[in-house]
Structure formats: C-alpha cells, structure tokens
C-alpha cells in the first residue's frame, strides 16, 4: 500500500511526512538513551499498524522493538511497571479504540500512583496511539477520546498536528516525569510537510500561532489544524484574514497558557472552549437574547466585545432555556 512507505533518510530539503517524522523521533530516542524501548502489538515485524516503526526492529533488535501478544491491559500495565523501574519506554496501542481494554491500568495505576504514594513513585511512560475518524471504518474504529483522557488528573495528553510536532514531540514526552498519551490522527500519517530547521523542540504547555491573522481566530488541534489552515487560505480569498492557533500540543485543559497570544484574545481562547462548546455557547447567548443568528454574526461574536455589542443590549428579553 502506498500508505506504507519504506523508511528513508530525510532528503536534504527537510521534506517529510508525519509518519516519517514520528519515526525519526523514535529512532533518535532509541539511539540516544539505553533505557528507551518501544513495545506493542506488531510494532516490530509488521512495522507498526500504520507503518510508523517500519525498519526499527532491524535497527534496534527485538528486545527494544518488542512485539506483544494481543493483551492490551497486560502490556500497558507492564509498561507502567517498567517505567516504575526506571525504564523510559514507549507503548504503542494500535488505536484509541483498543485502549479501552487498558483503561483501568491507565487511570487507576499510571495516573494515580504518584499521588497515592506521595511522590515516591512516578510513571514516566509514553503511550502512543492512533485516533480519529474519517477513514470509513465504522463506529468501533473511529473514536476520538482525547477529551476523556485530558480530564484525568496526572495524565498529559498530546496531539501532535504538524510534521514539526511529530518530529519533536517524543523527546519532550519522554522527558516528562509523568504518563504522556500521544494521540496521532490517522488521517495525518501521510501528510507531507517541510521541517522547520529552526525548530528543535516543542513547547508542550503553550499554544502556537500557525498563521497570523487579524479578523478571526480559529483554534484547532490534531487533524483539524491542517483543515483550519486550508480554510484560512480559502477565507483569505474572500478578504477575511484568519489567525490559526494550534492549541498547545497538549489539548487545552484548564491551566493551559495562552499568554503568548494577542492580548485581544478571542472568547474561544479565553474560555478555553473547544469548537463545539463554543458554538453551543454562542447559540445559548443568542437564544438568551432572543435573537436569530446568521453566519455574519460569528466573526463579531468571536470576541467578548462583539458579544456584548450584539447581544447584551437585547438581554432584557425574557430568557428561555433551549428546549428539547
């Protein structure tokens, strides 16, 4: 399949794919630290369910690129144990859909051990998996559960969105003293891009502006970042200049830092809402003010001042909850 290109060296121009960038990150980690190893179903001989680890078995041997039986709970739990013992390992679960079988280990052990042991134990484990729908694989292979995991204290959730993210996220994740879940969007693996030679690391804590713009801010993560960038290009044609913000590689959770942004930040950022929440919020404002909203309202509603101007003046109308 064309989706499974053989591993190859970076061409000099820095062009690569998300898949290859991830592989480079893995290779670098394996080469530079003896404690690092990769473990999961078919990471070795098969080359990884989506081909990310193709060639690494040959390079690093079966001990460090370790195929496991189909036993998600046991090998994720074993990963936690190995991390407790001081290894720095990466566990791959083929897709987030199968992660459910290991959820007890992730929530009850990985996320809680440090706290319950008063800091005696730490679980510096990286768990990688594919997320997202859009490949016509039906309900059991299309979940996006990042939001769930982001709500578990003690875990860090990362969703690399670009080739630069993919290339550098692993070293940051491995340096983290806590469990890190890496969600790789299935539709991104073959996405090509050019590595920015100036970028040598990613900041896990802060959002990044991926496109400058003045009229409207689009906040996106994971597989939506390329889509947002595309949309912004289209919008540019109509005279609207959109800013695209890639959320912190970490999914936005309370405490994420937006101070790097324009001080006139959008409501969406300020309230740390994802796009669906934001729409619900805007609609609720509208219902409350008794107004019909049109698409024209959205750019204005994107900021607090816009909301106030459009809606608050009319807020004396009786408020009704949305029904049904």
């Amino acid at each position: 399949m064309s989706a499974r290109t053989r591993p190859r060296a970076h061409p000099d121009d820095g062009t690569t794919t998300y898949r290859e960038a991830l592989r480079e990150g893995l290779r670098e980690a394996l080469a530079s630290d003896d404690r690092v190893f990769l473990m999961g179903e078919d990471v070795g001989r098969y080359g990884g369910c989506f081909g990310v680890s193709l060639g690494l078995l040959e390079e690093f041997g079966p001990d460090r690129v370790r195929d496991t039986p189909l036993s998600e709970s046991a090998f994720v739990g074993a990963g936690i144990g190995a991390a407790l013992a001081g290894m720095r390992l990466v566990v791959e679960i083929m897709t987030v859909n199968f992660r459910l079988l290991a959820l007890d280990q992730i929530l009850n052990n990985a996320a809680t051990l440090r706290h319950m042991s008063d800091g005696q134990l730490g679980v510096p484990l990286v768990i990688r998996m594919t997320t997202g729908a859009g490949r016509q694989s039906a309900a059991q292979h299309s979940h996006s559960l990042e939001g769930w995991y982001a709500h578990i204290p003690g875990l860090r959730v990362l969703a690399p969105a670009t080739v630069d993210d993919a290339r550098h996220v692993l070293s940051a994740a491995l340096a983290d003293p806590d469990p890190v879940l890496l969600f790789e969007h299935g539709s991104l693996y073959s996405a090509a891009g050019t590595l920015d030679p100036a970028v040598h690391e990613v900041d896990l804590d802060r959002a990044a502006v991926r496109r400058e713009g003045t009229d409207v801010t689009v906040v996106a993560y994971s597989g939506c970042v390329p889509k947002a960038l595309e949309a912004a290009e289209e919008l540019a044609g109509t005279g609207i200049n959109a800013e695209v913000v890639r959320q912190a590689v970490q999914r936005v959770v309370p405490g994420a830092d937006f101070t790097g942004l324009d001080p006139d930040a959008s409501l969406r950022d300020t309230f740390e809402m994802d796009s669906l929440d934001f729409l619900a919020f805007v609609e609720a404002l509208a219902a409350l003010s008794g107004r019909e909203l049109t698409e024209d309202d959205y750019p204005a509603l994107d900021t607090w001042n816009g909301c106030a101007a459009r809606l608050v003046a009319e807020a004396d109308a009786p408020a009704h909850g949305r029904s049904g």
């Binding site: 046991a74 936690i80 190995a82 001081g86 319950m116 042991s117 008063d118 003293p177």
Partner: protein, 355 residues
Amino acid sequence: MATAHGGTTAGTSQTKRPRRARGPATPSRTPAAAHDRDLLRQMLFIRRFEERCVELYSAAAIRGFVHLYIGEEAVAVGVHQALDEADAVVSTYREHGHALARGVPPEAVMAEMCGKTTGYSHGRGGSMHLFDAGRRFYGGNAIVGGGLPLAAGLALADRMRGESRVTCCFFGDGAFAEGEFHETANLAALWGLPVPFVCENNPYAMGTALAREHAQTDLAMRAASYGMAAWAVDGMDVHAVEKAARGAVESTRAGSGPHFLEMRTYRFRAHSTYDPDGYRPKDEVEEWKRHDPVTGLADGMRAAGFLDTDAQEALDHEVMEAIDRAVRAAEQAPEELAEDLLLHVTGRHEEAAPS
C-alpha cells in the same frame, strides 16, 4: 529477608536474631530455633497488629476499607524468607501482612492506616495503598488483579538490564478469574520474566466460593497450562511455604522464567470491615482455625524444645510493645493539610522517581 518487627530498616532474618546465642547449643539456641522464633515473631506481629487495627477501626481512628490478613500470615512471612532486598514486591488491597513482612516499619504502616502524614503515602493511600519505594514494595492495589501487569513490567526491566532480581507478585483466587491474570501469565511465560506468582487461594473472593468462581478449581494445574512450573502448597504451614518459595524464587532468579505457587490458605476474619460474613459455614471456619499458622508453629516449636513459656511471654511482650509504639506515634502524628491535597498529582516540578 525483611521482618515484621519494630525496627525501621529492612534486614535479613539472620541479622535480626534478638539475642546472640552464646551458651551451649541447646535446642532453643540452634540456628533452626532462632529461625523459627523469627518466623513466629513475624507472624505474631502481623496477627497482633491487625487485631489492633480492628480496635482502631471500631474507634473510627482508621477509616475507609480494611481487609485483614489474619489466618494467612504464613504466606507473607514464608515467602519473604526467599526474597532479597533488591527484589521487588507487588501486593493487593489485603497487604498489611506483605508490607510488614517486607520490613516496612510498623510506625509508617500504622500512620498510613490512620491517615496521618507520617505514613509513607502521607496518609493519602490508607490501608489499600501502602508503598515503600526504598524497599521496592510497589504497593497495595485496590483493583483486583491490577498489580499483576505491573509486576511483569518491573521484571521486564530487570531482564532487559540483566539484573538477577525477581518481582514477587501476590494476588488472590478471585483475581485468577480476571482477564488481567491470564494476559500477564502468558506475557511472563512467553518472555521468561523473573516473576514468582504467589496466588493466595483462601478459597473465597468476597462472598463467592472458589467453585462458584472457577469452572476448574485446580489453579496450579491451570497456571501450568501457560508453560510455567506451578504447584500447590499448604499455606498454613510456614515451613512448607518457605520451602516452596525458596525453590520457586531460586529457579526464577536463575532464569527459568516465572513460577506459580498456589498457597492454600484461609482468612479467619470477614472479607473487609463491611462484611457480615454470612456466606461461609461456621464449621468450615472452625476447621480451618484448627490449622492456625501461628499456633501451629508455636506448638511445633514447643514440641521441639524451641519455645518455653518464658520465651513465649517475652515474644508476646516484645510484639505488643512495638505495636503500642506504632499506635502512639500514629496517634500523635498530624493529618494532611487540605492545601497539600494536590501535591504529587504530577511530577513536573520534581525529579522523576529514582529507579
């Protein structure tokens, strides 16, 4: 290795002999006698410690869930004879006995039970979550079967680094029904991991008897189907346990992969402090009590001339003193401050745990 005593650090049972034998080698002063006395002291310590826990629970000084090990002391104490300081231990929510046998100081255990900050988990773990990283005691686990994969991982790290340590993993007959046991058994056998599996078959999982839990109740035979050495042991006889554990641990350490010991034992008390214990026939309980591991060993020692009334009294006294000290210390220790409750949720501004 470690001992259930009043001391604060782990030591081998040899260095912990209470009095140096200097006189003529009467039966009560032989190495065998000293070893038996040590076993007895440890088992007695666990027994009395937990009896005290019951009192403290009634007085609401201990809260949450408490699962007592009384009746099963021979397993923890016998198995620990075969373990080194460098080995690791993974336990369950019924882990006071394992922790004390491992040498975790009783002051720390009692403080943790009482939710005091001098507990090794700052009072935040309680009865089901005793941890002692220094002694490689990787804790209780309140999820049945939840510790099994951790043990495989700890052992995998040792194997990859070429260390000759083992990771001893305790779990119950009920846990044997969980998928996690089967996945872990296969993984450990497949990769030849140094894990002595110690299944405490006390033949109930809460109120469910073994035969209502398992289609085939010969657990050792079933474990053997994973291709590992497995056998059943009289878990009420500390000598039998020690012997079996030494065999399994030595063979595991030498590289022959995981071993499985089915310890046939019994809990004399209810499952937990919530349990009215209405599901076991009274005469079954009485029958098992006739095999009490503590009185059984003491009787044997008396018959061998290893124990007389004086020695017994001295032992009782020593044990009660140490427990009193632990309780007093726990009583005086402070509770966690509310503002500390979010400490150690992440380690971002700390060092990661040492290996």
